[in-house]
Each structure stands twice: as structure tokens, then as C-alpha cells.
């Protein structure tokens, strides 16, 4: 039996983030909290961000969901930590484009592990899983602005 098609979705690095999530927990000290869920499927995430001088100093998440939503949250927090809010929003835009299957220009921003999620674009039903954490981040910094 061939798993080729599934393998484009479930890359090893995704499974690693799912099994060993980075930045799971709560931010110490001042932070903003965003709760977001995916009402059609029940996935939910709580994202905590510490933003100082327009820089994301810390980002942590908690929640329940499938491998794609939780690994995406893990990767997202890893990616935006230490970045400016502008860069974080740019990354979010790049990620959305990636989910639409569009070519993305990420010369200036190293997406790192996130590129592993590229395969999700081929599974339309799962795109919302992958974008949940990014939507929460966008909401957080917008509410904070």
C-alpha cells in the first residue's frame, strides 16, 4: 500500500512537533491571551504572547486538536519568537499563500520547519487546521495594536 499521498501531509517534522510540541504552556509575566476555536471540528487553541517594543518576546500555546493544528501552533510560536510584529504578520501572510498553494517569496524570512506544512494545501479540508494558530496570532497583535 502506498502512503505517498499521505506523506505529503504528514511529514516527519510535523509529527515531531505534534509529539514534542515546542512552546506549550503559559507565558510568565505580562502577556496577552487569545482563545480561538474551529467551531466546525472542535479544535481549540489558547495563545499567549508577550509583545514589547513591537517585538514578540515570548509565545506559548495550549489547546486540543489534530496533528496538523497542534504541530502548526508549535511551529508558529517557534517561528515568531524574537521577531518584530511586522515580520510575524508577514509570515502569517506567506503561510496563508502557502495554504492556497501559491508560490511564496520567503527570501527574507526563514520559514524553517513551517515549510513542512506545504503539503496541507493539497488537503482542502485540513487547511483550517493549519491556519488556526496563525489566525490567533493575527488577532492577538491586532487587538493589541
Amino acid at each position: 500500500m502506498s502512503f505517498n499521498n499521505l506523506d505529503t501531509l504528514y511529514r516527519q517534522v510535523i509529527m515531531d512537533h505534534y509529539k514534542n510540541p515546542r512552546n506549550r504552556g503559559s507565558v510568565e509575566g505580562d502577556h496577552l491571551t487569545v482563545d480561538m476555536n474551529n467551531p466546525t471540528c472542535g479544535d481549540r487553541i489558547q495563545l499567549q504572547l508577550q509583545v514589547e517594543d513591537d517585538v514578540v518576546q515570548d509565545a506559548k500555546f495550549d489547546g486540543e486538536g489534530c496533528s496538523i493544528s497542534m504541530s502548526s501552533a508549535s511551529m508558529m510560536t517557534q517561528a515568531i519568537k524574537g521577531r518584530s510584529v511586522d515580520d510575524a504578520l508577514k509570515m502569517s501572510h506567506i503561510f496563508s499563500e502557502m495554504m492556497l498553494g501559491n508560490e511564496v517569496d520567503d527570501d527574507n524570512l526563514d520559514l524553517g520547519d513551517i515549510e513542512a506544512l506545504q503539503g496541507v494545501a493539497k488537503f482542502p479540508a485540513r487547511i483550517k487546521c493549519a491556519t488556526l494558530a496563525w489566525k490567533a496570532m493575527e488577532k492577538g497583535v491586532e487587538d493589541n495594536a
Partner: protein, 406 residues
């Protein structure tokens, strides 16, 4: 029952999905449509599409005959006392909302109680939450037994003289529990409460007799019983419906319209404001003919066999948790090891197997089960034991695939 002949009537089943023959195990969400229904819709739109109850012309008469003929088919299908008791709606949700908005607002007040169960679909929870907020009535839940059934003793303790409405699903869309409606209706009536039954998951699968169950309202959807989407039914006892105010006002439902006041048509039309769902009703009539031709008893027996076969095969899979009682309707809700149900559904989909994953519009029940989501395989008259074998195989594949992870 000749399953092969039944399957031949459903064009959609004969296709490949992701390189595999389709196995459709999501009929509790919506059923597939036999060509008899598809052709009836085609015939209606090509042959006699017209508005009903008003045209003097020939097509209008034909459309009216077909529309009202469908009502008579529904009446016989659920053994209602009269076609006056059969109201066409958009579906189960609209049917329940109609009762909450009309009967509920007029008859409930502070201190009254509405009794439901934690296994209800959101469509049989939220209308009552809203009604409770509007009227000051209290919403109460009967407890569930550990196997996901209702005990009569608990029902007797929860339903009191303060209870005005008891609203319970006939068959659980998650647990497969078949609830003792007749007994619950009797308890409700002993306290002068009315009994509403959410029949979305029972009407498609078993012989329904609203007079025998003695429920006051029975709501169901056409699309889960081989009919088109957008058509459903509210059955209500005439003694209650006749005093109830309409919820939607406009054309079609009026008797006389004056400048400042109007009067309503007689039952059932006073509840069918606006141009009704004509094609939907005609299609539902064709679906009922189809189900009757196959035979409700045969369908029930076939599904019972499938459910028992699925339980037997699936319970042999290591790490698989099945929710709900052994004696159940034709669906199995489950989780497998620590694999999230969305991931299960994606792997199964890659194998051509369609199942539902999520909270199944029953978040309070998910909380009761202490899970955030589950996967569900649901069966109908066109499913076979081979479909279940494919599911079991797919679940083994899922385990293998995620084996390295967990």
C-alpha cells in the same frame, strides 16, 4: 433485501475516490439519493414547475397535487392522524425552532421547566436555551447512564409538575442509543407536559408511528432519508397546532389580510408562509416511495445486522474505543489510540472511505464522554459488510501509519 439492487439505484456510490472505490459511511450526516428521487426532481422542474395553491392553470394544479400528495405520503409514513398535522419545513432544525418559538413562547413562563438530555444534537438544545432565556423558564437535563442510555427512573425524577416541555432525540447521532420515547411521552403527559421528539436519526431507519409513540411533536429531515436537502417535516397533534400562532408571516399562509390585522389559513398551511419547498416535498415523496418499496422492516433488519457486524469487527482492533450501548442504531462512534479523529478521517479518505470526524453537533455530549472529538461511521440501506471490512482495513492502515508516532 437485495443490497445489490439497492446499491444500483444510487449513482453516486459507483465512483472511485482517491483511487479507491467509494465507501460512504456518513449517512447520519446526509444520505445519498436514489435515481428515483433525482429523476423526480428532474421531472418536476422539466414537467410541471409552478407555484402551488393559487394557479388556475394546469401546471399549477399538477404541482399542487404533487405537493399535497407528498404530504399524504408523509402522513402514512409516520402514521399521523391527518394531513393537517403534517407541516413541511426546511428540516429538523426549523421544525424544532418552530415549536420553541410558537408553542414555547406562548405557554412557558418563569418557574416552568424544559427537560432535555445531554445527548441532544445542538438543534435540540439551543432553541430551548433561547426559550429559557426569553421566558425565564429553567432548562433541565436528565442524567445519562454510563452506557449512554436514559433510565426511566431518572426521567421520572427529572420530569415534574413544573415541566412544560420534554424534548428528546429518538436516536442519538453519536451513541446510536434508541431512546424509549413512548415511555417518556407517558411520563411527560402524567405531568401535563408536551413531548417533542427529534426524529432526524430515526425516521430514515425504522417504522415510525407517531400515534403509537403518542408524542406531541415529531421533527425530521428529508435529506437523511434519501430525499433532497432543504425539506423537512414537523408533525404536531392537531389539538396543539390549532391554537399555535405561526412563526413566519407573509404570502400563502393567510386567510384575509386587512390594513391592520390578518387571519390565518387553516392547518397545516398557516405554518407554511411564503412559496413552499415544492420540489423538496415532491422529492421527499419519491424518497418515501423508494423506502416503502424496499421496506422499512427490511431496512431496519439490514442495518441492525451491519451495526452488530461492525461492533464485532471493530472491537477486535487494539486501541479502539467505541462509544455508546451495544443495542444501537446503525452507527459506530469511536476513537483509535491517540490518533486525532481528523487524522483518522484523512487517512480513511485517502483509502476512499468517507467518515465523519469532529463533535457531531453535540458538544455537551463530547464533554460528557470526556473527549474533544470522535470519528463516526454510519450505515444505511446501501452499505454492506464489505464496506465495514474496508473500514476495518482502513483503521489498521491508520494504526500502521501513525504507529511510529505514538
Amino acid at each position: 433485501m437485495d443490497v445489490k439492487a439497492v446499491r444500483d439505484a444510487f449513482p453516486i456510490l459507483h465512483q472511485e475516490v482517491n483511487g479507491h472505490p467509494l465507501v460512504y459511511l456518513d449517512s447520519s450526516a446526509t444520505s445519498q439519493k436514489p435515481k428515483q428521487v433525482i429523476e423526480k426532481l428532474d421531472e418536476y422542474y422539466r414537467g410541471y414547475n409552478s407555484n402551488v395553491h393559487r394557479g388556475v392553470h394546469t401546471l399549477g394544479t399538477k404541482a399542487t397535487d404533487e405537493y399535497e400528495g407528498a404530504r399524504e405520503k408523509v402522513r402514512r409514513f409516520i402514521n399521523a392522524a391527518s394531513t393537517q398535522e403534517v407541516i413541511f419545513t426546511r428540516g429538523t432544525t426549523t421544525s424544532i425552532n418552530t415549536v420553541a418559538a410558537s408553542y414555547g413562547r406562548a405557554n412557558l413562563t418563569e418557574g416552568d421547566e424544559i427537560v432535555i438530555t445531554p445527548m441532544e444534537h445542538h438543534s435540540n438544545i439551543i432553541p430551548w436555551q433561547q426559550l429559557a432565556k426569553e421566558t425565564g423558564a429553567a432548562l433541565k437535563y436528565m442524567p445519562l447512564q454510563s452506557d449512554g442510555t436514559i433510565s426511566i427512573k431518572d426521567a421520572e425524577q427529572t420530569i415534574t409538575d413544573r415541566t412544560k416541555i420534554v424534548a428528546v432525540m429518538h436516536v442519538s447521532n453519536v451513541l446510536g442509543t434508541i431512546n424509549p420515547i413512548k415511555e417518556l411521552a407517558e411520563i411527560a403527559h402524567n405531568h401535563d407536559a408536551v413531548m417533542l421528539v427529534d426524529g432526524a436519526q430515526s425516521a430514515p431507519h425504522m417504522r415510525i408511528d407517531v400515534q403509537d409513540m403518542d408524542c406531541d411533536f415529531y421533527a425530521f429531515s428529508g435529506h437523511k432519508m434519501c430525499g433532497p436537502t432543504g425539506i423537512g417535516v414537523l408533525h404536531g397533534k392537531r389539538s396543539l397546532l390549532k391554537d399555535m400562532e405561526p412563526v413566519e408571516f407573509g404570502g400563502e399562509m393567510i386567510d384575509f389580510v386587512n390594513l391592520y390585522d390578518s387571519t390565518w389559513k387553516e392547518l397545516p398551511w398557516k405554518f407554511e408562509g411564503g412559496t413552499p419547498i415544492i420540489a423538496g416535498a415532491v422529492g421527499l415523496g419519491a424518497a418515501i416511495d423508494f423506502l416503502n418499496d424496499v421496506g422499512l422492516e427490511e431496512i431496519e433488519a439490514h442495518e441492525h445486522k451491519l451495526a452488530q457486524y461492525a461492533l464485532e469487527k471493530m472491537s477486535q482492533i487494539d486501541g479502539l474505543t467505541i462509544y455508546g450501548p451495544t443495542e444501537r442504531a446503525s452507527l459506530v462512534t469511536f476513537n483509535i489510540s491517540d490518533v486525532h479523529p481528523h487524522d483518522v478521517a484523512t487517512v480513511l479518505d485517502a483509502e476512499g472511505i468517507a467518515v465523519r470526524a469532529g463533535h457531531h453537533c453535540a458538544q455537551p455530549l463530547m464533554k460528557w464522554l470526556e473527549v474533544t472529538a470522535t470519528a463516526r461511521a454510519s450505515f444505511y440501506l446501501y452499505n454492506t459488510e464489505e464496506d465495514i471490512d474496508r473500514l476495518v482495513q482502513g483503521l489498521q492502515t491508520t494504526k500502521e501509519y501513525f504507529g511510529d508516532v505514538f
